[in-house]
């Protein structure tokens, strides 16, 4: 019945103006007489303080909070995160001597879509609250807030950093997410099971997680060649091992740096006894380099109280 609504609408349009007049008249009728309004202006006599936020809402704290992948229990105890990039910045903040608290979280909490991020301490005036600091700005934040930071420089730094960011990371992505045994024994309990107990949701989550890892690897090559990934990671460990040599910290520094934190992020997770690797190729390759294993023990002992 297409023609019908048109006249109906027109009628409504016509009735609009009188309605408005009527409304203002009614308003006048109900407006508060002046003496009564004066009385009411005294109200409220008492203002109660605002209600507290629910207990499980994030507490504003005086120290910055680092949001990482972890369990509530581990986060409270300050234990290492199970995610390499979270662990890198967690270790870095420990090294820099910045005081912070850990919050166990997931990617959905992050403004950038990825953990970790740092939430600066709350100010007395909420309007002045600083924005969350994404991971690539944590270094600057720590420098600005009195962290003791030593930054090795030179041509080798970038090159060896690329070993970690590409070779070892690619092998890590493959080992953790795409290698079938490891996904069910390690990645699923850590990343999938805490998110939901529904098998369908878990299935879809693990599918999206694995396809994201595959997509990341396929950016660099046309196929995912497991042998190539492993042999490149093996060579990368070899190169890192000879870079460290007999030194205590990388690049011959007297104290650990961000680079040590980046190496530790992977070595800790590959050597952690709590993780049961079904396909342990990558950790076996690492175990062959005694000085890298010793380096991990040093960082663990110094910054995680073991």
């Amino acid at each position: 019945m297409p023609p019908e609504p048109a006249p109906h609408e027109a009628a409504e349009d016509l009735s609009h103006a009188p309605k408005q007049k009527e409304a203002s008249f009614i308003k006048d009728l109900f407006s508060v007489p002046l003496p009564v309004k004066k009385l009411f202006d005294l109200v409220p006599l008492v203002t109660y303080s605002p209600n507290q936020l629910p207990q499980r809402s994030p507490k504003s704290s005086r120290i910055p909070s680092l949001y990482i992948f972890s369990t509530d229990h581990d986060a409270a105890a300050g234990r290492p995160s199970f995610n390499p990039s979270c662990l890198k910045w967690q270790t870095f903040l420990n090294i820099a001597g910045v005081h912070y608290r850990l919050v166990s979280s997931n990617n959905h909490a992050s403004p950038t879509g990825a953990l970790p991020f740092l939430l600066p301490p709350a100010q007395s005036n909420p309007a002045q609250d600083a924005l969350p600091v994404p991971s690539n700005k944590i270094l600057k934040y720590a420098t600005d807030h009195g962290g003791q930071i030593r930054e090795p420089s030179g041509m080798r730094y970038e090159a060896y950093q690329s070993l970690l960011d590409h070779r070892i990371r690619n092998a890590w992505l493959y080992t953790l997410y795409l290698s079938p045994g490891n996904f069910s024994s390690i990645a699923a309990p850590l990343y999938i099971h805490p998110a939901s107990s529904n098998p369908l949701v878990r299935l879809s989550l693990s599918h999206s997680l694995r396809s994201a890892a595959a997509a990341e690897l396929l950016k660099q090559s046309a196929v995912i060649d497991a042998n190539d990934l492993h042999s490149e990671a093996d060579k990368a460990f070899e190169a890192l091992s000879s870079l460290l040599g007999a030194d205590e910290w990388f690049f011959g520094e007297e104290a650990p740096t961000l680079f040590d934190a980046s190496v530790f992020a992977y070595t800790q997770l590959l050597l952690d006894e709590r993780l049961q690797w079904a396909d342990a190729k990558l950790s076996t390759a690492l175990r062959r380099r005694a000085n890298l294993v010793a380096h991990r023990e040093r960082v663990l002992g110094r910054y995680y109280g073991r």
Binding site: P111, T112, G113, L131, P132, P134, G154, M155, R156, E158, A159, Y160, S162, L163, D165, H166, R167, K219, Q220, S221, A222, V223, I224, D225, A226, N227, D228, S231, E232, K235, A236, E238, A239, L240, S242, L243
Partner: protein, 457 residues
């Protein structure tokens, strides 16, 4: 032993337009004795088990990816054809680390310069593929390579170089407004070119890549050691020559190299001549100098070319069609994934017995064969492909003859079909009266009739 290195074809007067292919060419040129290997500009990644070039062929064995090729060469020569042997421990570690650095930091620069930048891509890079690939392939290849390049450089936030995309990007991002870096601004619209606007970012990217390399080279002759040409030098040569040599409309990359890194430029120019020889043209690589037969071209190899070019196998219409469909299949979401999984399984099995040909062919054979046969049969009927007898030893003759029979068989079958259809239609018309769209039917019958006449005549 005849090793065949299959690479992307030549461009910019370099023997290949791909950095990894250049690296592999340099490696074989230095490591493998002359006469033991040939260079084939086949420009066909579907040949390779990893679906990427360079690929090395040794008889029935195909090795894909340049790192695998280095390993394989060392393996079959029992450690003789290796460039990195005898490096000191620290040098070996540097070689590994900088190889990773060059790959991870150099690739985005080449992606931006050759593929993402609209002007460079449309005026130089895309037309180049027309010269190195047979006819239908350039419709697929450059665009898919460009898509991959865009994906790789997405995180750099320089997609503004690509002006083909719509200005109004409606991105559904979870990043709040205050944390987002703006992509298109008024100044970017006013700027003469997107490259000029992004100049500072591009300069920073290029410097991040080139400065460590300059420091590593120092006063040495080669990157790792003063005396030894290593695999790192191959890789750097591949990347740097593709940054320096191409003459592009937007030459920010070569400009910054020439202005600030004269040492690297001199090194690249010198080694480029030394390893790849003088400027390479498409005719050199494909050995199709006008008027010269294959044998004459082979005679020329010894005299003029420092690289052992061999003509790519002429795969004919069927071969090209097969490649085209295979490439198309790889880009279809579900099917492409399935085919990739098959390749990965084959790679992980690491069996030596003919890795790709049989299974790959089996998966696509049905569809491809049918469509290719129909196409070729049709071409025979139309006389597009002459059935000339004077093709003495080329494989082409035999392959097309086989399809000639197939085509003939098909045409006979088609005749029967036509007769049958006509009979049915007549029956239909008799029983139900005239069909709704009689003129169209008449036209159809008429065209069938002409085709039948041509085949019989």
């Amino acid at each position: 032993m005849a090793l065949e290195l299959h690479v992307w074809g030549p461009g910019f007067s370099l023997p290949s337009i791909d950095p990894h292919c250049l690296a592999a060419i340099a490696y074989l040129q230095r490591a493998v004795p002359e006469g033991e290997w040939k260079l084939v500009a086949s420009s066909n990644p579907t040949l390779s088990p990893t679906n990427e070039l360079p690929a090395l062929r040794n008889g029935d064995v195909w090795i894909g990816g340049f790192r695998n090729i280095f390993h394989y060469i060392a393996q079959i020569s029992s450690g003789e054809w290796v460039l990195d042997a005898g490096l000191a421990e620290q040098e070996g570690a540097d070689c590994i680390a900088f190889s990773s650095f060059v790959e991870s930091h150099g690739q985005p620069l080449l992606d931006l310069s050759l593929y993402v930048s609209s002007e460079n891509f449309t005026t130089i890079t895309r037309p180049l593929y027309n010269t190195i690939q047979p006819f239908p392939m350039p419709y697929l290849t450059p665009n898919s390579i460009r898509a991959a390049a865009k994906l790789r450089t997405d995180h750099l936030g320089l997609s503004g170089l690509d002006i083909d995309i719509d200005g109004t990007r409606t991105q559904h991002s979870i990043i709040p407004e205050s944390l987002r870096t703006s992509r298109t601004t008024v100044s970017s619209l006013l700027a003469a070119s997107p490259e000029a606007h992004a100049q500072i970012r591009l300069d920073a990217l290029a410097r991040n890549f080139l400065e460590p390399l300059r420091d590593l080279l120092g006063e040495k002759k080669y990157f790792v050691s003063d005396k030894q040409f290593s695999s790192l030098d191959c890789l750097v040569l591949g990347y740097l020559s593709l940054m320096l040599v191409p003459d592009l409309p937007q030459r920010w990359l070569s400009k910054i190299m020439r202005a600030n890194f004269s040492g690297l430029c001199a090194w690249t120019e010198e080694l480029r001549i030394e390893v790849f020889g003088p400027a390479v043209t498409v005719e050199d690589a494909l050995l199709k100098s006008p008027g010269a037969s294959a044998s004459a071209a082979e005679q020329q190899i010894g005299k003029n070319f420092s690289l052992p070019w061999a003509a790519p196998q002429d795969r004919g219409v069927i071969g090209v069609g097969q490649t085209y469909l295979a490439t198309l299949a790889n880009s279809i979401p579900v099917l492409g994934e399935y085919r990739r999984n098959i390749r990965e399984e084959q790679l992980s099995q690491k069996t030596e017995e003919e890795p790709s040909s049989t299974l790959q062919a089996a998966t696509i054979a049905g569809g491809i064969f049918a469509s290719a046969a129909l196409l070729v049969g049709y071409m025979f009927q139309q006389g597009i492909i002459p059935l000339g007898g004077e093709e003495p030893e080329r494989q082409r003759g035999s392959g097309l003859d086989a399809f000639g029979e197939a085509g003939a068989a098909l045409s006979i079958y088609a005749n029967q079909m036509d007769a049958e259809v006509q009979r049915q239609r007549i029956l239909e018309v008799e029983s139900h009266g005239p069909p709704h769209s009689q003129p169209a039917v008449e036209v159809e019958i008429g065209s069938n009739g002409t085709v039948v006449k041509e085949t019989t005549g």
